[in-house]
């Protein structure tokens, strides 16, 4: 399988990464090189094989559902580019 220019633009938008028209052909070439490389997986017989979902066979530990942290709003917003009264500020979302 390979990707065309329209697909590159669509993936970039899905990934929320701005891509200029000038960058598309280059990206398309790189993505197709990687896709050509992974193409060899199609020769593997995967009939009846379960996909790996857990690297180490183990039961996930459960913990008690309790509040054990909090009241640190200053810390939470401390690295944010733009805040007001402990809220994160973003460009206008609703017109």
């Amino acid at each position: 399988m390979s990707v065309d220019a329209t697909t590159v633009r669509r993936i970039a938008h899905l990934a929320r990464i701005a891509v200029s028209d000038a960058e598309v052909p280059h990206l398309q070439g790189e993505l197709n090189a990687i896709l050509a490389f992974v193409e060899q997986l199609s020769e593997v017989n995967i009939e009846g094989v379960e996909p790996m979902t857990s690297v180490t066979p183990m039961e996930m530990k459960k913990r008690t559902d309790v509040v054990n942290d909090g009241e640190i709003a200053d810390t939470i917003v401390g690295n944010a580019p733009d805040t007001m009264n402990h809220f994160f500020l973003v460009p206008k979302v609703v017109e």
């Binding site: 993936i11 690295n79 979302v93």
Partner: protein, 490 residues
């Protein structure tokens, strides 16, 4: 007094205990070495004030007889580990001036045991790379050079800063992380020892995530014993990482010098690649002979799905990365680029903040997870991964204790030599990536030099949670091959 920076951790521990020198002197020697080696670009942030404070505290504890297992040992920390109040960037512009208000579990345990923070070490951006050339702070230089040449070589990646700093004696050991070979490949390129423990052995909490089902933290050090010492402090169950495993952490150092008599060492035929350099082939046979001379039995084994590990990895790892890196949105931390609406803000921030390799992987990951392609790519890759793991399980079920392979297909290469074709760079991890796919432990140990005088390493792959056997076998290789240090030119 001998040069304090040339000591191993084990030697420094003895020197501190016998009061031959203080932790402060040991730290100061390293801070001076770092300052004199800035040309290597191994550190992206030096923390001398913090280092001296921690060294002073270590001296006080040692004086009271309360020093921990790493009391006063100065370490470098890969910039992927969150360090409280100390800038942590994953060497990406998108994290900008991120100051974590928390400390990773692994580093918390190192400080608990008395280690000293010298600074943060360079790495490939988000640990994506095999040469440390994708860092937003620029490439790291390998302290090793080819005989009679001034060509600047890469230290490998993604833990290139860690490997370079340890090899150049700018710290006694370093933390690193390994998703496809990022500890073992740079260790092999710099004649250092690097171990990727079993998935689940170290907590991933507070480590910037790349591919969560593959990422593991581990140490890089100048001897097998030093790696074992660091490993014991780094490992352990953490309730904040549900994939960390709740089993006791052994005293890895006790495995050094243990007899390997009667152990079965697998030599996988699939790792004998067409066109493999003769010197790698020779190194591999030598390593096998050393283990045999120590009483181990060599057996040829087959891991039939080996060639599919790298292509499967280049689906699974980017898929997980595209999901993990969705958090960098310009809202809660890091870089933000201006825009008239929120979608453009996300798109501009991520276009500006991510470097070329990260962008490439996020795009591939987004594609293989997108509607209509998920089954053909991601699901198939996860099934192939099951087969790769089964290859190893079948091998271990036949009584094999560990598997010996080369660590890398070549010695270190020049900066800018590879990378025009992304796949060419990916092939660096051909011998290491299988281990991540199967969640197993793997150690890279220096084993010799190529004809140009560059170090080469061997890899030992072990059963899940049997790092001890790797330390025992790694020590045999180290005893036979000796340890190597680069000639100082910086």
């Amino acid at each position: 007094m001998t040069d304090l920076t040339s000591l191993t951790i084990a030697e420094a521990r003895a020197g501190l205990a016998s009061k031959s020198f203080t932790a402060r002197e040991l730290t100061d020697a390293h801070l001076a070495a770092i300052e004199a080696a800035r040309v290597l670009n191994a550190y992206v942030l030096e923390t001398p004030d913090r280092a001296r404070e921690m060294a002073k505290a270590a001296d006080e504890k040692i004086a009271k007889g309360e020093g921990g297992p790493l009391a006063g040992i100065p370490l470098g920390i890969k910039d992927l580990f969150a360090t409280r109040d100390i800038r942590t960037t994953a060497c990406s512009k998108i994290l900008g001036n991120f100051i974590p208000p928390y400390e990773s579990t692994v580093t918390t345990q190192l400080w608990r045991d008395g280690a000293v923070l010298l600074g943060k070490l360079n790495n490939d951006e988000f640990a994506m790379g095999s040469s440390n050339e994708t860092s937003c702070f620029g490439p790291v230089t390998n302290p090793w050079r080819r005989d009679g040449s001034n060509t600047t070589l890469v230290p490998g990646g993604s833990s290139g800063g860690s490997a370079s700093a340890v090899a150049a004696q700018l710290c006694m050991g370093a933390t690193a992380t390994d998703t496809g070979g990022s500890i073992r490949q740079p260790a092999a390129f710099t004649a250092t020892v690097g171990i990727k423990p079993t998935y689940g052995r170290c907590s991933r909490w507070g480590i910037v995530a790349f591919a969560s089902s593959l990422d593991q933290a581990g140490p890089i050090a100048r001897s097998v014993r030093d790696a074992a010492i660091l490993m014991r402090s780094m490992a352990g169950y953490d309730p904040r990482d549900t994939t960390s495993v709740d089993i006791a952490v052994p005293d890895y150092e006790a495995a050094i010098g243990k007899s390997v008599k009667g152990m079965k060492i697998g030599i996988p035929k699939e790792y004998r690649l067409d066109g493999m350099p003769a010197e790698i082939e020779k190194l591999w046979s030598e390593g096998a002979e050393w283990l045999k001379a120590a009483g181990a039995e060599l057996v040829e084994v087959s891991l039939p799905h080996t060639k599919y590990a790298l292509p499967a990895y280049y689906i699974v790892a980017p898929a997980e990365a595209s999901s993990n890196l969705a958090r960098y949105d310009g809202v809660r931390y890091g870089l933000r680029e201006g825009a008239k609406n929120i979608i453009e803000m996300y798109e501009n921030t991520r276009a500006e903040g991510f470097g070329a390799e990260v962008r490439r992987r996020v795009l591939i990951g987004t594609y293989v997870l997108s509607a209509g392609y998920y089954d053909a790519y991601y699901l198939r890759a996860q099934k192939v991964r099951t087969l790769i793991k089964k290859d190893f399980e079948d091998c271990f079920a036949k009584g094999v204790n560990a598997i010996l392979t080369p660590a890398t297909p070549s010695a270190a290469f020049g900066i800018g030599e590879k990378g025009a074709d992304p796949v060419e760079m990916y092939l660096n991890d051909i011998f290491t990536v299988t281990v991540n796919m199967a969640g197993l432990p793997g150690i890279a140990v220096p084993a010799g030099k190529d004809t140009q005088g560059l170090p080469l390493g061997l890899q030992l792959i072990g059963r899940a949670f049997d790092e001890e056997t790797l330390f025992s076998l790694g020590d045999i290789i180290e005893q036979a091959a000796g340890r190597f240090a680069p000639a100082k030119w910086w």
